[in-house]
């Protein structure tokens, strides 16, 4: 097991180097001349050459790469040439927004997805099963930005359902309403504030009213973002639960008179857990892709909207930084997942037990 973990760590380091190399090359692969971007209208061949010299763009590539790695290690991710702000500072603002949205969506997707999957597996070919399967299939076929639009039309302020029920409806976008609360300023000024607004309002400011305000803003985007992972988790749960329920140990458990609920939740679900856990892990990828679209619909000031702006403006440093952050996040999550398998399933990482 120890050897396995060491080997896995080595692979992670290798992947990180590959990620650095890829983001470094990204800089050179992007169209547009960085010098021209800096100079704008004052472009002359001489000053462009001077800027390239100053940015180190005339040095040999390996030398530039070593310098890039050094910069990243020191936490220097450069400046956006559009806002002229430090990328690390901008990331500090946008990352918590995306993580908060993603984690909320993942928790929602896991709970509802597993629930739906178990429910459909227990009563195969019933009305429940058909409805669950239909919902799961619809979930993976929906354009997520269209789902967001429909959700806003129905539940948003002035939306159809909101008007019908006479309720106020949910906010149309953003993490909070700047007119009501100046939360960005508050986060920047308050020591101990993390930028995770649910956490901050509940534990740092201890203001339930603001917490409720923030939670209401989070609700629709999180539900919309959760739709696809929820559908996938539900389908996997149904498949692996269906298989587990046919096993002998389930029959034995039933035969010895255990209550059905206990048989399903304790005996079957536990044994169906590994494929479900794997599917939750792989959903993180979809979650990040979906987050970009969800953030765009709900004007969520997170990394998704930040990346899109960087691409549209050909803003190299933020784009490079975002790809690097995502890659590092992935390497880390995969490492944690693989190592936790080694603990969950003793066969992993031993000779003859697969890698």
């Amino acid at each position: 097991m120890f050897a396995y973990i060491v080997r896995r760590l080595g692979l992670s380091v290798l992947l990180l180097v590959v990620a650095m190399l890829a983001t470094f090359l990204l800089h050179h692969a992007l169209p547009g001349d960085p010098a021209a971007a800096v100079l704008g209208k004052q472009y002359t061949a001489e000053s462009a050459h001077e800027i390239r010299e100053r940015l180190g763009l005339n040095d040999p590539l390996p030398e530039q790469f070593v310098r890039y790695v050094g910069d990243v290690m020191r936490g220097d991710l450069g400046r956006s040439h559009v806002s002229n702000e430090l990328v690390t500072e901008e990331l500090e603002r946008v990352l918590p927004a995306t993580i908060e949205l993603g984690v909320a969506a993942l928790i929602l997707a896991t709970i509802v997805g597993i629930g739906l999957g178990v429910l459909t597996a227990v009563r195969p070919r019933s009305w429940w099963d058909v409805a669950g399967l239909t919902a799961a299939l619809a979930g993976v076929s929906l354009p997520i930005f269209w789902l967001g639009f429909l959700a806003l039309q129905a539940f948003g302020e002035g939306g159809t359902l909101a008007t019908m029920t006479g309720l106020h409806g949910l906010p149309l976008g953003g993490r909070f309403s700047p007119a009501a609360y100046k939360l960005s300023q508050w986060v920047a000024d308050t020591p101990g504030a993390t930028g995770f607004l649910l956490f901050d309002t509940l534990f740092v400011a201890r203001d339930p009213e603001v917490f409720w305000h923030v939670a209401k803003h989070l609700l629709l985007p999180a539900v919309v973002l959760a739709s696809v992972p929820m559908a996938v988790i539900a389908r996997i749960t149904r498949a692996s639960m269906g298989e587990a329920l046919l096993q002998d140990y389930v029959r034995t458990a039933r035969a010895k008179g255990l209550p059905p609920r206990r048989v399903v939740l304790k005996h079957a679900l536990r044994n169906a857990a590994i494929p479900i856990a794997t599917s939750i892990g792989t959903q993180l990828g979809y979650l990040l892709g979906g987050a970009v679209l969800t953030e765009t619909i709900f004007q969520w000031p997170g990394m998704g909207t930040y990346v899109v702006q960087a691409i549209l403006n050909l803003d190299v440093k933020p784009l490079q930084a975002c790809v690097l952050v995502i890659a590092v996040g992935f390497v880390f999550v995969n490492l944690v997942v693989d190592v936790s398998y080694a603990f969950l399933d003793p066969r992993v990482g031993t000779p003859g037990g697969g890698s």
Binding site: L15, V18, L26, A29, L30, P31, P124, L137, A138, V140, S141, L142, P143, I144, F145, W146, F149, L150, Q153, A239, G242, L246, L284, G285, Y286, L287, L288, G289, G290, V292, L293, T296, V307, V308, A310, I311, L312, L314, L319, V323, I326, A327, F330, N334
Partner: protein, 280 residues
Amino acid sequence: MNRVLPWLWAFLGHHRPALVGTLLVVLVTLTAVIGPFAVAHSPDDVFARFASPGAEHRLGTDSQGYDIFTRMVFGARTTLLIALTAMSMSLVLGSLVGAVAGFVGGRTDLLVMRVVDVAMSFPSFLLAMVTVAVLGTELENVIVAVGLVGAPMFARQVRAEVLRVVSADFVMAARSLGLAAPRVLFVHVLPNSLGPIIVLGTLGMGSAILDVAGLNFLGLGGDPFRVPEWGLILTQGWNKRPDANLQVAVAGLAIFVTVLGFNLLGDGLKDELDPRTRRR
């Protein structure tokens, strides 16, 4: 063909979801092929802006004064063509890489599959976004990006199939006859792994439509004045909400129904062709 049609008939007869999927796909394909000849207007005809739905304009007109119904019908054609191009690219590229890796084996296989693993572990939509950023925000590059991002899945599946088939007696026979490796691969090995490729291709159409629409929604699809695909029609409506809400609803519904059709059909084919997932 003589064997395929009866098989298809029997399959659709007993697999109801796949039948629904087939009907949806056929419906959209027919719209794309003959629809453009059957509509009254051209997608470039300009009328009054934001006209309400009625006899003249079944779904009204958009912010530029284009007839939405006409654009949706023409959009079926562009949407399917774009997705088909991207998916074919994934299919050809991925299958080739996977087949060669599985057939050659050894270090090549190890290296190629590591690259595939890394590519698949990274969020595919983000990968497509970055690819478009590198190539430039143009429709052609969106197609290339979606095609590239879809390829690893084919590579992995085809490699697994090739590994399964390569030790079969008929391949051994072909090899011992002294046939050249490419011939053994293309004539004897690949045709026998066609089933999973068809399944992935069908499901791939759905995800290609969604990915292209998503990239367009983010504004990465370039020139907005070309004959639109549905993702762009949706986006243009979204940018003019709430006046163009109907446009968003209709375009999204069309995308949803089409993707659902391909997914139903693909899942059905998977049930039928893969004995492991055959329904209990």
